[in-house]
Symmetry: C2
Subunit: 355 residues, 2 copies
DNA sequence: TTGTATGCGTTATCAG
DNA sequence: CTGATAACGCATACAA
């Protein structure tokens, strides 16, 4: 009857993008009816609704989220930006985010900044263009200011930081209580009888490393031990750097009897160096790391480490996003969720049992 | 002049979704001109083009990909489905995919099936609804048939499998030459003087485990050794399972002098069991695994393993997708890309040097 | 309960 | 080289 240019191709052979209009025409009803039936609207006859659903199945109708998002002005997409997806930490957080998002009907667009702020800026633009409903991000190492996040705010897109964020900025964020983690690890070493506890720390412009270091200092103070700057070594947290720091520490006139590193890879480097020098762990030097990576349970002795609650962090980040979404006019809100770390004590620091 | 209902809000305070229409109005030109300037069309005056670009920057115009995709019928999104994002292998492949995709202007939607075919089915529908330009997938462990992929084919969306795929099905895929990998690892053990080489293998309905096993058998044959069924153990590739298999093997009347496992975690379990029994690796039993996970370099001794070229696999998968995209009518094509594995020999199998 | 009409932001077709 | 206009698929205000 209708002389539309789509003369009802009986054979849905190749690409068959069947739309609501197709369903409407087939059933002889209006698109509105179709829309209502599919979206479970209340004003719809049960009979027609069933008919629509049945036909939709038959023609295997697939809703077009793009069109819906365009119309409604809000999509079911969220963007996640991480420095890199490899490595247990970020992969695990992304896992948490994706799992929570998926349950809530959101899809996740994943972006990697490659630890580069310029890439990060591009990622943000891409996500805004994709009309995401929100952005969850852990900033890159060389992100030093918030300029590029202004655009996100202007677009009114909820922004949630997780783990890494710039100090002094008031934003929505989910973080670990890194200070408490540093405190726990260091206190544990001190309780094991160690008195010269060294610290291998990361770049201090990042909240996480700064706080872990502060926790280290807190513990020393609590035990009445004056901090010794020669026992605090800057590191980029790689295996090599950890080994180098350990070597430097051993070369001191008064070397440490324990080391707390702000990362597991670095502490593994330290462990390897100690073993190559014939020193015993934990008897000669006790070790504790941070992140509770898989390698901590493969190393010998197994490495004591602070767990970062990665899954919970991902869940919490997504949850915070949804809260911002329903709160609406909260472009300027500053909600912070702080997760408590958990120290996993393993052989690398258990002195009392082994001496 | 124009009495549009958007009276040029001077203060772009909160949500400022500036569109092409806004730019057009501001400059007093048509939307067509704006569109052409932004998309670098040839029919456009250099002067006007500059003016448009400048204004776009000033008002920080952000293109709406959704609208463009809706109009053009093709988005710049691709979907990636993996069993889980944690673990080095999939994270690394996703890294490769995202890096390549990003360079080509595509964004990546990540989905996890959780090793469940039902979830996988939902993921596929979600991605189709999101109007992705293509889908890259590594199937879940309990995916036994291709029913749910039919829908993808009907929609004419390019589909690329990577690593895991169902045997006997002719699809576009990027895989590792697992058979060659199994052959290399086993041959290496035989060359080290081992004569009773055992194999810990995974579920045989998956191409990867089946092929690794076949490579193992190939190597035995090449060396004129008859396969011994008691030396081939089924496993779910976990740490515990690896240890259990090793224990079973040691209990044999004639235990093996080497083990090749189809996964690194399993071989680590075997290593730990051997050490707990006071046996020496590789002198008493030589070991080789598969995947070249990070743990292989943390274990002591370090574990020999087959590298899966994860980054290349990701790149190749995306590249194959783009080829399918430009080839258009290739819903039925069956392009296969096979990557060559690389054996990393480490201490766990180096007998000749250590005896 | 159902239908009609309109617009979301963009691109493509056609005419100037 | 530029402009008016129609679509893409869906949701909703409004009318029936």
């Amino acid at each position: 009857m209708a002389t539309r240019r789509t003369p009802s191709k009986e054979t849905s052979a190749s690409g068959s993008p069947v739309s609501m209009a197709d369903l409407a025409r087939e059933l002889g009803v209006s698109m509105t009816t179709i829309s209502r039936a599919l979206s479970d609207h209340h004003s719809i006859g049960p009979a027609t609704k069933q008919a629509v659903l049945k036909l939709a199945k038959k023609l295997n109708y697939q809703p077009n989220h793009l069109a819906a998002a365009l119309r409604k002005g809000k999509s079911k997409l969220i963007g996640v930006i991480v420095p890199y997806i490899e490595g247990r930490f970020f992969a695990s957080v992304v896992h948490g985010i994706e799992t929570a998002a998926s349950k809530a009907g959101f899809s996740v667009i994943i972006c990697q900044s490659g630890e580069d702020v310029e890439h990060e800026r591009k990622n943000l633009e891409t996500l805004l263009s994709a009309q995401v409903a929100g952005i969850l991000i852990s900033v890159s190492l060389n992100t030093l200011d918030f300029k590029h996040f202004e655009k996100v705010r202007k677009h009114g897109v909820p922004l949630v930081f997780f783990d890494r964020l710039l100090e002094g900025d008031h934003v929505n964020a989910v973080v670990l209580n890194d200070r408490e983690g540093g405190y726990q690890a260091t206190s544990h070493l001190l309780e094991q009888g160690c008195r010269r506890v060294a610290h291998i720390c990361g770049t201090q412009h990042l909240n996480i490393y700064k706080n872990r270091r502060q926790g280290y200092l807190d513990a020393l103070q609590r035990y009445g031990i004056a901090p010794d700057d020669s026992l605090i070594r800057d590191s980029n947290m790689t295996l090599e750097s950890g080994a180098q720091c350990m070597a430097d520490l051993l070369a001191l006139p008064n070397p440490p009897d324990a080391v707390f590193a702000a990362g597991d890879t670095a502490i593994l480097g330290a462990l390897q160096l100690l073993k190559s020098r014939g020193l015993r762990v934990p008897q000669d030097v006790a070790l504790a790391g941070f992140s509770n990576e898989a390698l901590t349970q493969v190393a010998e002795p197994m490495l004591t480490s602070v767990d970062q609650r990665t899954e919970e962090m991902g869940q919490a980040a997504f949850r915070l996003f949804t809260e911002l979404l329903s709160a609406e006019g909260t472009a300027f809100s500053q909600r912070q969720v702080v997760l408590q770390p958990q120290l996993f004590v393993r052989a690398s620091s258990l002195r009392k049992d082994t001496i």
